[in-house]
């Protein structure tokens, strides 16, 4: 795709996203038409009365709105973090979880449930443990000298991740099987059903805090895809850029996982879609990944709450919907890895 066509494609993708948001409001147990949605938003903006049933307003502002916003935010964040990590680890099979952020967040959340803490504490623990796990991995990897730094990072991530997995397994084993175990299982499968306006407002600044350095460093993140010594010989302080990218991606992923539970797949596969569409240049890859990730998670979450009588766990549905899409794209796309 030539650079001149990219803005047009991005505009098209934004329009598709707006349409998808309208659909997300219009379906479900309490459908809100696009007209009602517009007049409620307009009344909020201007302070005038909309003259609609207050129930509709509650649905829009307290229930469906936060859920839609959370889906957009989390989808965008996971895809952005995945795109940055795949460049940095020079490997298209890498997901944001590679350094143990999800495993850490899972331990935090499960610990919170195990100790019967309230929702805010559970989310805070998940967020803190996610950051802590990656911090531990980074410090361990930095202490080891004389090996390829990326290899050591991945190894440390895998090892720490499996230790944290064992911690989760232990707490599941010890948990009360009637109250706690279902809650733990539910959290580990991922869901946006309980997303509140407070969740959205507390997550948004963290997402931006991660996204801004990623966007600012977009050119240098391209060079991280080169051999480490080559990138340094080209004038890039790879150690610092890498630390910044890890910190940014971890912040975004940890904040996401804290409110949604573990949602795999998006951070691994959406950046592939994006790379097949616009190539590997991060200044195009990042916005494309963000748009695709947001649209994908919103689409899947809308399906999750409408196709069956019960909510389908997001972690399950993303894979069920995403895998055929991905295979189809893989079979038809020309741009990709090689």
């Amino acid at each position: 795709m030539t650079s001149a066509r990219v803005p047009a494609a991005l505009l098209g993708a934004c329009a598709a996203l707006v349409l998808l948001v309208a659909v997300a409001f219009a379906v479900g147990r309490f459908p809100v038409s696009a007209g009602d949605l517009a007049s409620i938003l307009w009344s909020r903006l201007t302070g005038t009365e909309h003259g609609l049933d207050p129930t509709i307003e509650t649905v829009v502002l307290r229930i469906r709105g936060p859920r839609v916003a959370a889906a957009l935010l989390i989808g965008a964040a996971l895809a952005a973090a995945g795109a940055a990590y795949q460049n940095m680890f020079r490997n298209p099979l890498v997901s944001p979880d590679i350094l143990g952020v999800s495993a850490g967040a899972a331990v935090g959340a499960v610990l919170g449930i195990f100790l019967s803490l309230n929702v805010i504490m559970i989310q805070s623990l998940a967020f803190a443990f996610g950051l802590g796990a990656v911090g531990l991995v980074y410090i361990t990897a930095n202490a080891v000298r004389g090996h390829d730094p990326l290899l050591v990072l991945v190894l440390a991530g895998v090892v720490v991740g499996s230790l944290l997995g064992a911690c989760v397994a232990l707490m599941k084993y010890l948990a009360d099987p009637y109250n706690q175990l279902p809650a733990i299982t539910f959290w580990l499968l991922g869901s946006l059903a309980s997303a509140s306006p407070e969740d959205v407002w507390s997550t948004l600044p963290l997402m931006l805090l991660g996204l801004v350095p990623m966007w600012l460093l977009r050119w240098r993140i391209n060079l991280l895809a080169l051999d480490d010594e080559e990138a340094r010989a080209l004038g890039v302080d790879t150690g610092r850029i890498r630390l910044t990218v890890i910190a940014a991606a971890t912040l975004m992923t940890s904040a996401s996982v804290a409110i949604s539970g573990v949602i795999g797949w998006i951070g691994l596969v959406i950046p592939h879609f994006a790379r097949m569409l616009v190539g590997p240049d991060f200044s195009r890859l990042l916005p494309t990944s963000i748009l695709l990730g947001a649209a994908f998670l919103l689409g899947v979450d809308t399906l999750a709450r409408t196709v069956a009588r019960i909510e389908i766990p997001l972690g399950v549905l993303t894979a069920f919907v995403g895998t055929p899409l991905f295979l189809w794209q893989l079979a038809t796309a020309r741009k990709g890895w090689q």
């Binding site: 010594e229 340094r232 080209l234």
Partner: protein
């Protein structure tokens, strides 16, 4: 032009020159500036690096790869400007690979990749270019082509420091030769004076004859011929 025997790690002196490894002693200076303990982009504005043509991990275009050479001239948060694109275009023109600008780096030939990496070093606009076996893994025609380009660069005023396993390459394009053996400097000087049957026997442990061959234009070149052919 350091030549070294096959089994020793001869890339270490290069990494020290590029500031990628700390010096075990002495100093690395370019234009009277000591490169030790300088920021990466300061070093990169003075010394560029041409690695062996390698497979890339992601399908960047040739133009994007060459543009990466501009990084040392960019601010931390900047992306290449139009002026950087012009510099990249100029570098590609000098390597005669303009027609490849939109090609995907992972899908071009080894020789084209090597020229792309040299163009990237040119775009870096450093006084010195350090090249790590740029002719390795290339077929005969591409080896000659790459060496000719390197020779032209050296004549245009860029200092080229090139490592090779082939002493004939030194005869083709070197002004001075440093022969490394067991991690030490064994010989240093003009090609004709350093690359001799004695030094080659000492370093590689094989019998080699060095003969002069007339090139037909009144000049002649030395060539290494292996075996007991004296």
């Amino acid at each position: 032009m350091p030549a070294g025997s096959q089994w020793q790690r001869q890339d270490h002196p290069f990494k020290t020159l590029l500031g990628l490894l700390p010096a075990q002693g002495g100093a690395v200076r370019v234009d009277e500036m000591d490169l030790r303990a300088r920021a990466r982009n300061e070093i990169a504005r003075r010394v560029s690096y041409v690695p062996q043509a390698h497979a890339a991990f992601f399908p960047f275009t040739v133009e994007e790869v060459v543009l990466m050479g501009r990084t040392a001239h960019l601010g931390l948060f900047s992306s290449p400007s139009r002026r950087d694109r012009e510099a990249a275009r100029g570098a590609m023109a000098r390597m005669q690979i303009e027609h490849l600008a939109a090609s995907v780096y992972t899908r071009i030939s080894g020789g084209e990749r090597q020229l792309t990496l040299i163009a990237r070093a040119l775009a870096q606009e450093a006084r010195v270019a350090v090249m790590d076996e740029p002719t390795a893994n290339l077929d005969f025609g591409n080896q000659v082509r790459v060496l000719q380009h390197i020779q032209a660069l050296a004549r245009s005023g860029i200092g080229v420091l090139l490592s090779t396993h082939d002493p004939d390459h030194a005869f083709i394009c070197a002004d001075r030769v440093a022969m490394l053996h067991d991690g030490r400097l064994a010989r240093l000087g003009e090609p004709g004076a350093t690359i001799t049957p004695e030094s080659l026997r000492e370093i590689y442990g094989v019998e080699v004859a060095v003969v002069r061959v007339p090139l037909g234009n009144g000049k002649e070149r030395r060539v290494c011929i292996p075996g007991n052919t004296l």
